[in-house]
Symmetry: D2
Subunit: 293 residues, 4 copies
């Protein structure tokens, strides 16, 4: 398919490359063009603006940092909306707010575009290996038609429903659940360390019994090693995602007490000087709050 | 080995049977003797009191409901302490308080007994299949000597340290982590349901991606099905374990904010009429607090 | 002084009247003009738009429902900014976000206006009796010059600092503290009721000993009487103020854990059907969570 | 009346003196007898044990540090129960658990004693000035008969009901409400300080408007001055009282989420090194969690 790929960060550059490998015809755009040069060498065309990239494509994919970047690249002058042909589709793969996803759905509907949300789970290595987990929602026909693109970047695609925002809320919920694992394992490690239990052995036990899941392995390891730097995902970014989850919940009158608590702990960690650390530094806060070190 | 097994509930009866199968010489005791008859048929001897059971054995194992039951069977008149020979060992497999475990350690030490704590993770089916996870702590020599018994009832034995209470605190931490999974998944399911996401599909996604662990499968399934009865583990029992975790933490000045919140939610669920439900009914509370149903 | 008064709701109409009584020259504007007629009869002029009202005055006062209403009346076309003369002042008395207060400060500074924030504490009866408590912040000269106007509507004026947003954050903190009183008294009444203590007697005790403050009397009375309707201040408005307090705090990396908890309880109360009740209905939620009634 | 007064700490010594002043016939006992000498000089008799003190009196009053001290002085050998005459009364004025109060009620009932609980609010200066607030509960006849004694030590007596434990739960609730004021004012001061508001001015505003109550003045002052030492009431004692409130609530299935949060913050403050400070040091924790200093 003829695809525009907007956003070549740590994740997007790998995803665009995987689309090229799957023999799609890809035009890329990035705010700093230097990042596009690598992809040009691998066969991508490089556009000067999102609008230029989206002109004459069947599908535009956005993979950007936040709401602000997506608004700029899609809704503002020089953005995707200016040029995307009627009948073409937009796959929004960024982690954005439910509110923005709704707005995008409206704007695309007015112009006769298809719009699906398809955020992903996984770190840059998974993006490189095309082993991301993709969560997609949107009109059935559109989702079916676009699935091959999603399969080109991920190991598995989960369809969540016919309204795009459903995928966004699942993505935010997923990140909230990861943060909950960090928080609860952080507290449990603080407690058991105070009793003299070796954190490595404790995590070894967890991840070889009831909690044998990737997220416990990844974050259990970081917590046991107290290796919060370099940050895989900075705590302010984690805070942003928890804030989006709380906002999505508030807009339908749903309390998320664990998320509220995590938000408080992230703010505390930042205020106490852990701003440059990984979002799992809430576990470092838990250790300090237990009097460790 | 010559073993006394005290406590033949849903878990203990299977565990005692597995010891018989492993060709140990087992004397059993249970508060209601009827439960012992099955085991007699399978080769166990049946004692009239814990003291009688513990007489002349190398090892006594307790697998009882709570602190109170262990105190009765071990410390009170007619209890294990009265007769357990010098040099023999006590393996405490019940989920008990750290405080009681410390007290048992002292009492046994005075009498020249070995004492190890070896609580288990798993439901009755796992006890039956001898696939429990066993967490053990205590003196090195004792642990090594007693390991074959633990291996006869579990699929894997994790050694946590040389003080018995370390195993107890790991057990309580593990139950706290399970309760945290229930709480956070309950909140996430409430949120996504409000957006129209099917809970089965949501849990299907979780357990086939980052959260592919037994505990998410078991409790995710219950939450998606809203099947809180019959209770696998009643909410008051869950509350008791969270209380023990909080007490263990308080005694070393460690806060466990997520556990505190779960305690409040369990009390609320009970006060609102869910007393006879599974401890995962905190997820039902989360759904009701989100205005569902 | 020549004053424009924008916003004639339950509070503003009384405040404007008190300015007339203090012999100021008052022009009023309200979105629904009917409300202005009463004041015309008492000597006010009535303008057709905020811009018209603010033309040729020394001071414009806004007393509106929320950020949105203030933005409309001040920043949008037909708003105060269009006509307020250089050197004139804007007193913002509404409960608005710190972010909007900052923005107003900037916009007024660009145009050579003085800008002070002066939110008030008190219910409509206090506005009528000119016994409000006024919290003011802004440039010293401006505050001194404008004080007589504030004294005309309140019993006491507290100066908080030289940046207008300081008054806004004090107002939001004050509302947070009121909500904290409601929450904690609600929990304590639920507990003591479960022990058979009469809530009237309990509140009588509180407000005649350590907690002899107006806020305990007002809300203690509502809670003891369980009289959450008619709402003096609806729960969604309370939620809005808590949200503004949390946002003000988040923007300077400050956690407010009690406010987070209150937010969750307000959302829960709304989700459980208390949307039309007073914001003190979080105490009703506390009672229900304790199994009462 | 002929009265035995057990417990001559910071509070009890003043209270016993006020009974002497009211011309009661007072025998005192204290664990360390030195403290009793002052009172002997003022006309008290000094006993060698609680049992000796309680012999032949009409009323015994206990004013001790905690459950443990009351159990020792009343229930253990050499305690009040051994000698208190049938028909005599016990007024328990200590802050004790509801569970112990129940037990005392039972034990006294068995022996034909009257038993009322009458805990007090106030600091040592109030005890000295006989301006304590007294909360009493117990059988009507007993309460009426004993009121003059309570009036001799306090400025006002509040009757809470006919079961002694009702007074205990009111006392614990009162302390919980004080702790809630500390927590919420601590958070609000942290927030407003981050905006540059002077904490003295902020507290001045609070205590001269909606929050004009003694508890806001006392603790608002400490928080504004950051004067957490010397401790008026050490944080571990505060933690003990919050724990008793949570236990009283748990035994009737009542959640107290704000109390749970305060408990976590007190533990954190202790773990972070504030063990020797006043219980209002949770406000210091709030300031540090906001990045202050």
């Amino acid at each position: 398919m003829k695809v525009a790929f907007i956003g070549l960060g740590n994740m997007g550059s790998h995803m665009a490359r995987n689309l090229l490998r799957a023999r799609h015809d890809v035009t890329v755009w990035n705010r700093t063009l230097a990042k596009a040069e690598d992809l040009r060498a691998q066969g991508a065309e490089v556009a000067q603006s999102p609008a230029e990239a989206a002109k004459e494509v069947e599908v535009v994919i956005t993979m950007l940092a936040d709401d602000h970047a997506v608004e700029s690249a899609v809704l503002h002058p020089g953005g995707v909306l200016e040029s995307l042909p009627k009948g073409a589709a937009h796959i929004s793969m960024s982690t954005i707010s439910v509110a923005l996803s709704r707005k995008l759905a409206e704007e695309h509907a007015k112009r006769g575009h298809q719009y699906v949300a398809a955020p992903v789970f996984g770190r840059p290595e998974a993006a490189e290996a095309a082993t991301l987990f993709v969560v997609v929602a949107g009109g059935k026909v559109a989702v079916e038609r676009l699935k091959p693109l999603l399969e080109a970047v991920g190991q598995r695609v989960f369809v969540m429903g016919d309204k795009p925002e459903m995928a966004n809320v699942v993505k935010l919920s997923g990140n909230f659940l990861i943060a909950s694992v960090i928080e609860s394992v952080g507290e449990a490690v603080a407690l058991t360390r105070q009793y003299g239990v070796d954190p490595q052995q404790f995590v070894e036990f967890l991840t070889n019994s009831l909690f044998a899941a990737p997220v416990y392995k990844t974050y259990g390891g970081i917590i046991a090693d107290e290796k919060y730097q370099p940050a895989g995902f900075k705590i302010r970014l984690g805070l942003k995602d928890i804030r989006l989850a709380l906002a999505a919940a508030e807009s339908v009158d749903v309390p998320l007490p664990v998320a509220s608590m995590i938000r408080d702990h992230m703010l505390t960690a930042i205020a106490r000087g852990m701003e440059d650390m990984d979002w799992s530094a809430t576990a470092k806060l838990a250790a300090e709050n237990a009097g460790l070190k």
